[in-house]
Point group: C2
Chain length 283, copies 2
């Protein structure tokens, strides 16, 4: 195992990239994974991690084996959202054992390797490249139907590393309907086309909001801009998820929103997108 701990957090072994069997190890790990999706966004705070977590749960609920990989090194929120607080163990082959959320869903995040969760991981790009590569090669993912990769916003080292290492990964782009977010999402589209990553589709999150007091529709960040942008770019539009205060508090508390609010609009949209993704397995 190449992870070592220092005062700041976890340091990935710098020589990892140069290991002679490294490319073969990547291939071996990826060979057991049927489908990989990278959830990305142009702007932060559009609910990318919420979408990654909820899509993973929806797929796992349908009986698929799902892995959730958090490549957001500086803001790793997956463990908190899934309510997973324990450290990761090593198996007999010295591989990291992902944290289990349920029988079908397991997750890996740099957060689960940090002793003090409040410590910052202050890394430049090459360290992140190395850590993400280890998340593929040095984790005992086993056989997976789906690997969902939650990327930080933007088009920097983390998504670029995924694009270079995980051949065949498809992008799911998340946006809110506001113009500032759409402007940045067009950069995500440009990124995928430049690195030749297939775009599976776009999701519009925080799309409209109903006041819990008067039940009138509120236009928090606008509505429909994501669908329009997807259409203009010739990208599949996967669905619109309304802003739900409950999704914020479930995420904060590490509780499954879909279990607690099985009849909500958001739960149904996640189920529908998961159905669509499932067809990649049966088809």
């Amino acid at each position: 195992m190449g992870f070592q701990q220092d005062g700041i957090g976890i340091v990935a072994r710098k020589d990892q990239v140069k290991k002679p069997d490294s490319d073969a190890a990547v291939k071996r790990s990826l060979g057991k994974i049927k489908n990989t999706f990278m959830v990305m966004s142009g702007k932060g705070g559009v609910g990318k991690t919420s979408v990654s977590v909820n899509l993973s749960i929806a797929l796992a609920n349908k009986g698929f084996k799902v892995g959730l990989m958090d490549v957001d090194i500086h803001g790793p929120d997956i463990p908190r959202m899934l309510g997973l607080s324990s450290m990761l163990d090593l198996d007999k082959d010295q591989k990291l054992v992902p944290a289990s959320y349920s029988e079908n869903l397991k997750a890996v995040s740099i957060e689960s390797l940090s002793i003090n969760k409040d410590d910052a991981i202050i890394w430049r790009g090459p360290m992140k490249y190395s850590a993400i590569r280890q998340f593929i090669t040095d984790v005992a993912w086993g056989e997976l139907d789906f690997l969902i990769i939650d990327s930080p916003p933007g088009t920097g080292d983390e998504p670029l590393t995924v694009a270079q290492i995980v051949t065949g990964a498809k992008a799911i782009i998340v946006t809110t309907p506001q113009e500032i977010s759409l402007a940045d999402v067009r950069k995500s589209i440009s990124f995928c086309r430049t690195v030749k990553m297939e775009i599976y589709g776009m999701i519009e999150n925080m799309s409209g909001f109903v006041c819990p007091h008067c039940h009138k529709e509120l236009d928090l960040f606008g509505m429909g801009g994501g669908e329009k942008t997807a259409r203009e770019a010739g990208i599949e539009f996967l669905g619109r998820i309304p802003f739900d205060r409950e999704m914020v508090s479930c995420g904060d508390a590490g509780i499954s929103f879909q279990e607690k609010h099985a009849d909500s609009v958001a739960t149904k949209v996640f189920g529908k997108i998961a159905d669509r993704m499932s067809s990649l397995i049966s088809g």
Copy 2:
């Protein structure tokens, strides 16, 4: 000037860092700037750029000379929020002339150097280091009372580069009240303490919301968590800015929120924080 254009966007000259007079050039540029603040956040989408823009406008309105530097390379939203769409010119010394928002406020962003705004800037860390350094040395900032630096979320290459280059910069940390955001903000605090950057204070953004239909208070992302976190960490709490739908639409349209909504709570809070920052000049 070291900026060159290619198919993707703007490429910073790689050898810039090694220029023999480079450290002297940084020192010369910074010598004309009285106070520098880096606005940062743990999580994206907490309104960091809105805060940077509005604080800069509030300071400029008080008569100070203000520069706004956008070091968010992958999601540069400053020009759009300020309604600045033109490309930047070079002066007779071959330095970049910042875009003028008003007599007192000028801004530089990678966005103002890109020909096609929808193209992604796909850069690894060392390129970003070089570009940020050029934002200091190769821009004709002139004499400034305040330089406000808008950083992307997290604790990666961009804030680290600022911390290393801009000696004496103070951090303003922005958060929303939700726990996921607060968890990441504690990493920002840890970052500042590790790199020995003084924390000027914390701002709680998107703190409560009033329904425009029934005028009841709504708890979008919770409330008060930022103040509590600041107190626990022994950091100055600078103020609480409510979620305002108008701030989203003004930002999207590139219109000054403070001008259009001079009597809003948010405008008053920004004015108060700017007053506090002003005391650094007179004091």
